[in-house]
Symmetry: C2
Subunit: 284 residues, 2 copies
C-alpha cells in the first residue's frame, strides 16, 4: 500500500498499532511534568507556494501552526526549534526574513538545524508547559462543542490567491497569518473534556475527538461561525477545508455556555461525525 | 549573498547577530531545569541516498545523529519527535521500516508529523535532561582534547558504497549505523570544559570549540585514532570528513589522562585550529 492510499491518518494508525509511536494522545507529545512538544512539517508545493507568500509570512505561519497545537493542549509556549531545508541558491536575506517571521509569533527560536535541500521544508518543534492537557479522548455524550472563531477564511484566501481575485485582503491575511489562540487555549483547557485545533477541516478534526473518545459528534452546521464574504469568493464550502487554526473543544453544556464561544455541535452515543464533511490529508 | 556562499555557519552567525536565534550555546538548545533539545534535518541526496541505505538503517541514523548531540550535552534522552516529508508514492511498508530503525536507537518516538513532500526529508528532535551541559565556550589554554573513538569509518564507508568496492563491510556499517555515545557523554560531561560531537569533521568541530572558547586548538594528528583499513580504501584523509559521531571534549590534562580516551590535541592561547583540516557544510 502506498502513502497516497493510506493517508497520514492510516500511517499514524499503523505506527501506533506496531507501537513505533507512543505518547501522542493529544495534538502533540506529552513528556511528563506538564511538558508538551509538538512538531509540524511544512513543505513547498504542499503547504505553501513562494509566489503566494512572503518569507516573513511563511515564517510566521510555520510558528503559528505549531503554536496552535500547543494552544489545543492548553500550554504556555517556551520556545521553538527550527529545522530548515533550503535550496542552496536561496538568498541569505530571504532566510533571515523567514526567521524574522518565525520570531513575530512571539516565542523565541532557541535553536535548530539548517541544510541544503532539493525543496523548501520547514520543520518546527514547539515546546511548552501545560497545567492540564485535555487531549482528544475525554469527550462524553452530552458534551457541547465550541469553536473559538470563524472558519473558512484561510481556504477562501488561498482560492483568492489562486484565482487572482482583487479586494479580499482580509481573507488572504487569514491564509497567510493564522490566529494565535494561546490564551483561549489555556482558558478552555481548564474545563474542556477534549480539544483540538481546526487544521484539517472541522469534519476531520471533530472526527479525531469522536474516534479517540468513542462517541459521535453531531455538528450544528448552521451555527458554525464563518469568515466574512466567503460566498462572494465562490460557492465552495471553504469552512470545511481547514487551516483556520481555531480551537474546537468539547465540554459540558454549562461550561460551553459560560465560555462565551459559539456552540457548534454536541457529542452523542455512537461513532463518526454527522454530517460527513470530509477533510484534508496531505498524502491524498 | 546566497546560502551556498554564506554556508550553514554563516547563516547561523547572521541569525545570532540579529538575535533571531538564541539559546543554542551547545550542540542543542538549553531549556532551563537541565532540559535540552536538539534538531537535525536529513535530506535525500544531501545526507543520504536511498540506493545506499535501507529505510531501517536510515531511521536508525536519523535518531543516532540527534542522540549524538544529546550525548555531547551529557544528556539522558527522553524521547524523539519525528517530522517526516515523504513522497506520496512511497510504500507504507518502507515508512514503517524507517520508524522501526528510529526505534532501534532505543529512545521512544513520542510523536511528530508526516506530510507529502517532493523529496524525502526527516527532521528529528531529541529531548533529554542533563545534570551538566559542558557547552562549547568553556575550554581554556592548557586543556587537553580527547576523542571517544576512531574517525574516518563513515566517510570511507560512503566512498566504498559510491565506488562499489567489495569487502569493507565494517566501514559501510560505520556509515550506516553511527555509534551511540550517550554513556561516554554523561561521563565526560561531569568534567569536560567543552564538548561537541564529530559531525562536520574534526577540524570544523574543534573549530567550534576554539571560536566559542576564544582559544586555539592544536590537533596532534598522529594520535587521532583511525577506523581500520582506511588506506586500503583510498589515499584520502577520510578521518577529516566527519559523520563519525564520536565525542570531542576539552578537559584538564589530569581528567583527560584519567578518562581513558586518546588525547588528540590541546588548547593554547590564540584562535583557530592547527593544522587546517577543512570540514563539511551542506550548503557549500
Amino acid at each position: 500500500m502506498k502513502l497516497s492510499e493510506a493517508g497520514e491518518l492510516g500511517l499514524l494508525r499503523e505506527l501506533e498499532r506496531l507501537q513505533l509511536v507512543s505518547g501522542q494522545d493529544a495534538e502533540g507529545a506529552l513528556l511528563g511534568e506538564g511538558r508538551v512538544a509538538t512538531t509540524d512539517v511544512l513543505t513547498e508545493g504542499v503547504h505553501f507556494r513562494l509566489d503566494w507568500t512572503s518569507y516573513r509570512d511563511l515564517g510566521f505561519k510555520c510558528a503559528a501552526v505549531n503554536l496552535s497545537d500547543l494552544a489545543a493542549m492548553g500550554a504556555e509556549p517556551e520556545g521553538l526549534l527550527v529545522g530548515l531545508g533550503a535550496l542552496g541558491g536561496a538568498r541569505l536575506a530571504d532566510v533571515v526574513e523567514l526567521y524574522e517571521g518565525l520570531n513575530e509569533a512571539g516565542v523565541p527560536v532557541l535553536g535548530g538545524d539548517s541544510t541544503k535541500s532539493p525543496s523548501w521544508t520547514i520543520a518546527v518543534t514547539a515546546l511548552g508547559k501545560s497545567d492540564r492537557v485535555p487531549g482528544r479522548a475525554g469527550a462524553v455524550p452530552g458534551d457541547a462543542l465550541v469553536v473559538t472563531g470563524p472558519l473558512g477564511g484561510s481556504a477562501a484566501g488561498r482560492y483568492v490567491l489562486e484565482h487572482g481575485l482583487p479586494g479580499f485582503d482580509e481573507l488572504v491575511l487569514a491564509h497567510r497569518r493564522p490566529p494565535l489562540r494561546l490564551e483561549e487555549g489555556k482558558r478552555l483547557a481548564r474545563v474542556a473534556h477534549a480539544m483540538v485545533d481546526v487544521s484539517d477541516g472541522i469534519g476531520a478534526d471533530a472526527g479525531r475527538i469522536a474516534e479517540r473518545s468513542g462517541c459521535k459528534v453531531v455538528l450544528d452546521v448552521g451555527r458554525i461561525p464563518l469568515a466574512p464574504r466567503l460566498r462572494e469568493v465562490a460557492a465552495i464550502p471553504f469552512w470545511t477545508h481547514g487551516e483556520d487554526y481555531e480551537l474546537l473543544a468539547a465540554l459540558t453544556p454549562e461550561d460551553a455556555a459560560a465560555c462565551g464561544f459559539p456552540i457548534v455541535g454536541r457529542c452523542e452515543e455512537g461513532s463518526g461525525v454527522e454530517p460527513d464533511l470530509g477533510g484534508w490529508d496531505s498524502f491524498r
